[in-house]
Symmetry: C2
Subunit: 205 residues, 2 copies
Amino acid sequence: MSKRGYHHGNLREALIDAALTLIAEKGPHGFTMAEAAKLADVSAAAPYRHFTGREELLVELARQGYERFAESLEQAYRGGHPSSLAAFEAVGYAYLAFARDHPGHYIAMFESGVAPNSSRALAAACARANQVLVRAAGDLSQHLPAHRRPPTELFAAHVTAMSHGIVELYARGAPGERSPFTPEELLETGIGIYLRGLGFLDPDT
Amino acid sequence: MSKRGYHHGNLREALIDAALTLIAEKGPHGFTMAEAAKLADVSAAAPYRHFTGREELLVELARQGYERFAESLEQAYRGGHPSSLAAFEAVGYAYLAFARDHPGHYIAMFESGVAPNSSRALAAACARANQVLVRAAGDLSQHLPAHRRPPTELFAAHVTAMSHGIVELYARGAPGERSPFTPEELLETGIGIYLRGLGFLDPDT
DNA sequence: TGTACATCAGTGAACGCGCGTTCACTGATGTAC
DNA sequence: TGTACATCAGTGAACGCGCGTTCACTGATGTAC
């Protein structure tokens, strides 16, 4: 970092980080341009050199969030190795891990009121993340006999809904007061039962 | 209603209704005391005769929401008749129906940032609603042999998480862009597969 | 039933605040020759 | 390498706004006798 001169050098990134911190700490509306600027050690007017306004910054947070989310999920999926089942489950854990490790991004993506079609780039990033989930579900369901195979989108939506529900209700200090189970336990057992219902896994264990 | 005099007559209820309307229309932070007052045809100071402040009004919305939510779920459960399975599924539909029919309440309960322990009454209402879900899950799981019976709280948490996830992601104009499935289809099939995984329902249909 | 009075539920004006945003500015940085 | 100049990324002051909330007030309503 070293002593910097008049110019900040990386204000755009600093503002994004500040906003993420504020959002994670104080909820989806707990961030203001003024406060983000202060956190980045810059005057209140400076952010407008990098973003046209608050909305654009929020959209950028969501976009970057979906992009990294997609990367995390892809990383976990690793092309379906060593098996589609193992990869599928890894994606589930990656979902929870992302929500835990990047709360600011997660909130910007799902709780800030930013519509995924606010910009082309955001919509693309959102679609990219969804595709990983759909692909994981699709690959896995190939192992089922065709007549018991659910539509891939339906399968993916079930798993996404359960993951998101767990994050919202049982991760973070959220409502539904702390349950006696960790989010990981909830997801592992929930998906396990669901997959057994589809015909995966030994029905008697 | 008829021509009313100087006094509004039922301002407290009118403010609650106004706040619910605003929240449903404009998101969790899309309501202000000033706007609620205007919607109720009253000066901006009037609400403070009935609520100590904005926060108290929000908490009241959540409390009333949980109370009605509990009633809806209880109504659907009807003591487990005609069968615990049918009653269980009715509770699931009631969950979705509540979110759809009372968006203002649902948002105040789950998306406004109001902590369920903000007041004794709110915590009690929240617990009451949860108990219906836990009871429905507990009664149903009695039909399973003990060694395959999941902990009731776990079972209930799975179903709650999936229901909530579906509401947040696939009901309303929310993120994840409209999926090709209705929330009801998603819940019915998702819970169906899950229950089959637990050992309910014919595994070959 | 009528009157005197307390209480109640509104009003309207005002406040302080912090926010998002704009604007003219200035000193630092990058570039052409 | 040195100089002249354009551009860039900040500053600081200011704005208008709407919000939450307070306060002294007043006319309507309820109550005791």
